[in-house]
């Protein structure tokens, strides 16, 4: 059988770190990259006698995410203790949510190969992160608890993702959403967005799920795609050979490009869930829910629909602009400052994004060319003051020297010459200097390019090419 004979069924569990300043149940900082064990306190270390106290910002973040994807918010929910022994888990208890997640259901919308996709969510729940084991050598292991107690929300999809590409785009959509909401930075390489995939195959046309495997350790979008693609092929070859897929957890080895068995279902833990007695139920009352709803920004897919619809941008351009909240915000601000929508889109996509490096810096207050300044430049092009070619040079100067377009144009005399008299004098001069070409023009109209180029040279590039064309055509006729 070929791969086409199988239907791929993928469900994803995405852990997004929530960008609160302090941990979910204690006061240490959640900063990334500090010296090991410097961002800890008695509570996140699980010392005897400590108690968790919920950071309310974590609840607000999860509720906003839930509202953004249309989840049903559970206005009264509980935390649960999940038990397993591992040195990176300070209490050997993870405080999580089990039977009462903060959000039920919801839908994540995104685009895949130009088509709209909607993946339904099972739930979103809150939990604390564990620390990190560092295996120093064969005889020694160290543990860094800086990450212990960092707030996470786990976003669980229904098993209805049909390809590795779709899985990767779904995760990217979640990252975009988390960033739009300002509740996390969604950095897969730093582990602030992590993804586990449940993958199974079934013969096309059948409805029962095949046996699934859980894939872990995919720390980039590329890893997500590659790992699932590999796992799909692996399962297909097992099934093709008449074998059975074993339910197990497999680790993605990016260097070798394979998934490897980590533990089977028989070794699975009994987590002995029970309600966390140290935390009262979390209550989100109607007023809090309404207030949080009002804080939602325009979401990526709504923005895409607006750009590709009423604004009239191509789906490609709209897609680039909405990919980060800061790009879209920059673009909207430039348009609000008077830049024509389509021209502004081109400038943002082709020029601004080419020089900014990290697109999220466009949200900074001290971006070298603020949106209003870009609008000023685009307006000068639009009204013919500045040629497109010179405008790009002017933009380069604006970015490097933090000056406005009007200032550069005025001080450096870069305004486009459209004045008929001045241009005609230049044209006559060029024709006089090139009598042979002038004589040949009628037989060879392609010489127009030569004359236009010569006039541009004569005027230092400032001549309005359209006007030059018209004058030359008249003089050479």
């Amino acid at each position: 059988m070929s791969l086409d004979d199988y239907e791929i069924v993928i469900g994803l569990e995405v852990h997004a770190q929530l960008a609160t300043r302090s941990k979910i149940f204690s006061w240490s900082s959640t900063a990334f990259g500090a010296e090991p064990n410097t961002l800890t306190d008695p509570v996140c270390l699980g010392l005897p006698g400590v108690l968790p106290v919920l950071n309310r910002g974590v609840v607000d973040a999860a509720v906003r995410l839930g509202l953004a994807v249309g989840s049903k918010i559970r206005q009264r929910c509980r935390f649960t203790r999940k038990h397993y022994f591992y040195p990176d888990l300070p209490k050997n208890i993870q405080i999580s949510q089990f039977d009462e997640p903060i959000c039920d259901g919801g839908t994540v919308k995104f685009r895949l190969h130009g088509e709209t996709r909607a993946v339904r969510l099972t739930r979103i729940h809150l939990e604390e992160d564990a620390g990190k084991n560092i295996h120093a050598d064969a005889t020694k292991s160290l543990v860094d608890y800086n990450r212990a107690g960092v707030p996470l929300c786990e976003i669980v999809s229904e098993p209805e993702i049909g390809s590795a590409d779709e899985a990767a785009e779904y995760v990217r959509a979640l990252r975009t959403l988390v960033r739009y909401l300002g509740i996390g930075d969604g950095n897969m390489e730093e582990g602030s967005l992590r993804c586990d995939a449940n993958v199974s195959l079934r013969k096309r046309g059948t409805t029962a799920f095949g046996t699934k495997t859980e894939i872990k350790n995919m720390n980039s979008f590329k890893n997500v795609r590659d790992a699932i693609e590999h796992e799909v092929k692996r399962q297909a070859s097992v099934l093709d050979g008449g074998g059975r897929v074993v339910q197990e957890t497999r680790l993605w080895d990016a260097a070798r490009g394979v998934t490897q068995s980590m533990r089977s279902k028989e070794q699975a833990h009994d987590y002995r869930y029970f309600p966390e007695p140290d935390l009262p139920p979390v209550v989100v009352d109607d007023a809090a829910l309404a207030a949080l709803g009002k804080t939602l920004p325009e979401l990526p897919e709504d923005r895409f629909a607006r750009y590709a619809g009423p604004v009239g941008l191509s789906p490609q351009d709209a897609g680039v602009l909405v990919s980060e909240r800061e790009i879209a915000g920059y673009y909207d601000a430039a348009v609000a400052a008077g830049a024509p929508a389509k021209r502004a889109a081109n400038w943002v996509i082709n020029e601004v994004l080419a020089v900014v490096g990290d697109a999220r810096k466009l949200g900074d207050a001290d971006v070298p060319v603020p949106p209003a300044a870009l609008a000023g430049l685009v307006k000068l092009v639009d009204d013919g003051t500045l040629s497109g070619k010179l405008a790009k040079e002017v933009f380069g100067k604006m970015w490097a020297e933090r000056r406005t377009a009007a200032d550069i144009v005025a001080k450096e005399g870069l305004a486009q010459v459209s004045d008929g008299g001045e241009l005609e004098a230049a044209c006559r001069k060029v024709i006089a200097a090139n009598p042979t070409e002038a004589a040949n023009f009628k037989a060879n109209p392609k010489l127009m390019g030569f004359f236009v180029g010569a006039v541009m040279k004569e005027t230092g590039g400032k001549a309005n090419p359209k006007a030059v064309n018209e004058i030359l055509r008249k003089l050479l006729a």
Partner: protein, 498 residues
């Protein structure tokens, strides 16, 4: 400057003396330290005596007085602290080998509040390991003797706190009550012990046994002493999400109204539940408690019959919940970050099993096993879920009873202190020692135990007063009235130098 005889001294007398400039906190502390040095060898109350720290704290109180500042409501009161409260820089073991060497880098809310009120901690008190036990025989280090008879247990788990208070090895103490661990030893040692409303006193820094049942509370020689301590300990705490934001009551004042006039309890209805007077109860205990009820009636209270029909489920309910929570809370003792670690493990698995196998005593192991069973997948509803529903019913019983009365008065323990080894071979018999105390723990409501007599053999008998949630003032008012009319609390145990 006057001096005070530490033997039998009350906390409020010491605080009043220090605040009036008549006593030096340092002198008082030295007297108690001297008593501990002379007498505790025979009793085993203290696991750690922090003499230097006590002197430093006492000197600070005296310095505050000299500087014209109020040294606090508990100025210079020498206190004993159950070794379940984390104390910064002072080893805290929960009487377990697995925590030996653990020096907390932080202070419990309760001990820091007592210190802020001028209390002077003398040291850390013995207890049943992880507060699991009713006789103090489960301490990993040494048993505590009952000051009234060294052949008898002091009760538990806060046996060190009760015995030290009774023997004047401190002027007051703190403990924790999960199934009776303050009230039962208070009864067996002839002192006052209070288990407040759940959430009234912060659990931050109290090493957890069963989180939904653990109640920190005070021990005192008198009702007013216990009230003064509770006033300083109680109140909402940002570090304990289950603490209650309601203002702290005027407990001392309530304890004193008991002495007002011939009928200070006029208008108070006292409920007596038949379910708390069952066959198996010691006859001397029953007659002492019946006599106490008569005394309360003479003080103006109206005695009414109430019913707590689900009492028969209390012990089973309690042991399902407390073992489940204990198995979870004790998971953190694994040798990784603090306390005992087995030295010769060759794998992570082996480090865990050896550390826990060698570090925990029999009773914690038994409860971890039971709790693990209770919580295993697929059985939650049959055990823990059902226990939570039974707990609700038991709490509802109390609420219904309080519709017809203001307080419920019962014996604290069905039996007086028993002999060492008498119940150790049968854990179930030991568990039944809590039969009259677990109800208020499950319901989260306040209850107080105070002396109400002695057996012919000279062992103390305890009287329990139970009130609705946040009704601590009622407990103190009733208990204060009883105390004002009786002299049991003035009796002192014999002294035998070690």
């Amino acid at each position: 400057m006057t001096s005070i005889d530490a033997r039998g001294a009350t906390a409020v007398a010491i605080a009043d003396g220090v605040r009036a400039g008549k006593l030096l906190a340092r002198d008082v502390a030295e007297q108690y330290l001297d008593r501990i040095a002379r007498l505790d060898g025979a009793l085993g109350c203290y696991l750690l005596v922090d003499a230097e720290g006590a002197r430093r704290r006492a000197d600070a109180v005296d310095a505050a007085y000299k500087a014209g500042r109020d040294p606090g409501a508990l100025a210079g009161v020498p206190l004993g602290v159950k070794d379940i409260f984390c104390t910064r820089g002072v080893e805290t073991t929960c009487a377990s080998k697995i925590l030996r060497g653990f020096v907390p880098p932080y202070e419990s809310t309760v001990t820091s509040r007592l210190a802020a009120a001028g209390g002077v901690m003398l040291g850390k008190l013995n207890m049943d390991e992880f507060a699991m036990g009713s006789s103090n025989e489960n301490s990993a280090f040494k048993p505590v003797k009952n000051p009234w008879s060294h052949a008898h247990v002091p009760g538990g788990s806060s046996g060190g706190s009760a015995a030290a208070t009774a023997a004047s090895l401190c002027a007051g103490a703190i403990g924790t009550d999960t199934g009776g661990s303050i009230r039962q030893p208070a009864a067996l040692c002839g002192v006052v012990g209070v288990k407040p409303t759940y959430g009234r006193v912060s659990r931050y820094g109290v090493i957890a046994f069963a989180s939904s049942l653990d109640h920190p509370g005070p021990f005192g020689r008198t009702v007013e002493d216990a009230a003064a301590l509770l006033e300083a300990m109680a109140g909402v705490d940002e570090h304990d999400a289950t603490s209650i934001p309601a203002p702290v009551g005027a407990y001392r004042a309530a304890a004193r109204t008991g002495g007002d006039g011939p009928e200070p309890l006029k208008g108070v209805r006292i409920g007596v539940p038949d379910e708390y007077f069952q066959p198996g109860m010691d006859a001397e205990v029953e007659s002492a408690v019946r006599a106490a009820l008569d005394e309360l009636a003479r003080a103006g209270a109206r005695i009414v019959k109430v019913s707590l029909p689900n009492t028969k489920y209390a012990i089973a309910t309690y042991y399902l919940i407390c073992t489940a929570e204990a198995s979870s809370n004790l998971a953190r003792y694994d040798g990784v970050r603090f306390g005992y670690r087995a030295g010769d493990a060759r794998s992570l698995e082996e480090m865990y099993t050896k550390t826990r196998g060698e570090g925990f005593g029999t009773e914690p192991k038994r409860r971890i096993m039971l709790g693990t069973y209770v919580l295993r997948a697929g059985y939650y509803e049959a055990y823990y879920g059902k226990a939570l529903r039974a707990r609700r019913k038991i709490a509802d019983d109390f609420q219904a009873a309080f519709a017809g009365c203001d307080a419920i008065v019962t014996p604290t323990s069905p039996i007086p202190a028993f002999k060492f080894g008498e119940k150790t071979s049968d854990p179930l018999q030991m568990y039944l020692a809590d039969v009259l105390t677990v109800g208020p723990d499950l319901a989260g409501i306040p209850a107080l135990s105070q002396p109400c007599g002695f057996t012919k053999a000279g062992l103390p008998i305890g009287l329990q007063t139970i009130a609705p949630a946040l009704g601590e003032e009622t407990c103190f008012r009733v208990a204060g009235a009883y105390e004002a009319r009786t002299k049991w609390h003035q009796q002192l145990p014999p002294e035998t130098a070690s």
